[in-house]
Symmetry: C2
Subunit: 322 residues, 2 copies
Amino acid sequence: MLSLAALSLRLGAAGCRGGRRSMATVISGNKTSKLVRERLKKEVEKMKSQFSGFRPGLVVLQVGDRDDSNLYISTKLKAAAEIGISANHVRLPNTATEDEVLQSIASVNQNPAVHGLIVQLPLDSVKPIDTERVTNAVAPDKDVDGLTCINAGKLSRGDLGDCLIPCTPNGCMELIRQTGVSVAGKHAVVIGRSKIVGAPMHDLLLWSHATVTTCHSKTPDLPAQVGRADILVVGAGKAEMVRGEWVKEGAVVIDCGINHIPDETKASGKRVVGDVHYASANQRAGYITPVPGGVGPMTVAMLMENTVQSAWRFLQKSQAGR
Amino acid sequence: MLSLAALSLRLGAAGCRGGRRSMATVISGNKTSKLVRERLKKEVEKMKSQFSGFRPGLVVLQVGDRDDSNLYISTKLKAAAEIGISANHVRLPNTATEDEVLQSIASVNQNPAVHGLIVQLPLDSVKPIDTERVTNAVAPDKDVDGLTCINAGKLSRGDLGDCLIPCTPNGCMELIRQTGVSVAGKHAVVIGRSKIVGAPMHDLLLWSHATVTTCHSKTPDLPAQVGRADILVVGAGKAEMVRGEWVKEGAVVIDCGINHIPDETKASGKRVVGDVHYASANQRAGYITPVPGGVGPMTVAMLMENTVQSAWRFLQKSQAGR
């Protein structure tokens, strides 16, 4: 069954094309993330009225003071506030030791008013800190970034009902759903195998019953692999690496890349592009995400989704425990 | 660099072929597992002399009394004894509750003389027991079956140095190594996505830098997918499902299947075959594992390997702690 959004995307596409296919339908992350955030806002209102003032709680833990981290965190806090999630920014100085970071995490883990905890990466400390150790100190049921080994293990082995899913690939799945294209039985190709994008994306597509191929820097025949993809998700971190000529006619193309390239026509002297060469891929794909305005806004929306989901689970448990 | 075993396999192949390729080189799991067990025996002797009588300890926990489980366990205990691993069989009655099983596991987890603990599956109890919960109760650093979420999470995200790897796919990798064919840059196809074979096999091939495609029951074009595999690993559980005509000329074919099919010429009325149609695949593959005598014997050898590895890590930690 098509969702209303998918139907409107499709009708729009047919209108543009006038019966002859020339351009892909653009999958808007701005619109889709707005829909998600509006839905979550209603859910949080429902929680509040049903459970006497209850609000989902989110903590963003930052070590140090990187400019890019500050920007990302402010976006997250703003989205949370709009939805009605109670979000707190816990900030440790860049002199914090690993033990101090672990103690902060333990204290948030124990706080029953917090349902989601993310540690903003990279850690900006002058002291040696083991990022893996810090990431895995987050309680799995509050791990709304989905980065602990336990959540990764569940996702990779198909126990999706019982885990928290990393936000970017979860957002990609939401965008794919918006197209109305079913994933089961399709051939999906993922470029990249990072912990936050490629590897969990493979898992989500596989357990949605696609046949999945994972490509990476050691793949010798990338154009041929890409050419077989009904669904292509790119998280390679290389500006405009995937050329339109490689793309299978009618494919769904999801671009997770955010790359800054020089552009003299811009006041800033640069512009943002994805990992896919948009202008040429747009000629062959059936559906494509733009950069910016595609996957980017979905990541924050899915962080909110995970936080609300985690709060629901907490409510269920506390109801069951009565 | 080719290992000696690989060299002898290759010379043997060339001899058979007389310059014209007709039959695949057989990758013997019987021979390779023997080599592994002999190496482990020497390692255990070294441990014993270096660390005043120290022996790796393994516990096999069984619930109930299934005939097939009894057979598998006796094979494991025998292999352990031959290598010098101190193995104990802990048996709970089929009336054991989940709590009793969890208590048994906790007690073995705490025993410093035990470095490996496996829970023989399936659990044979008249009481309701959550297998996932039981599997995940095993301490990750004693989880020599590699089935806990934590070990699966590490493996799936590429942290291979720090985890215990499931025995069957680990054995497949050892067999692939024996061929001398390098995995990096190759196209590998895995059929199946189970927790004990397909899913971890994907991870091992991916982090050995192959481009990996996972196929399963929802894959519509299996022959075409198989035809692109330089390395094919089959864990589908369907007798002779993969036909020789599908196989790419010269491919490495690893067959994890163990299926019993009727055979009137046998006294037992049946015989064991793999998931690959051996007679036809043998005509096209470069290397192929037989069934029986291929992957099967490797599984037990790799369980011993994991136990010895776990004991080494224990020794390293206790040395570091002095």
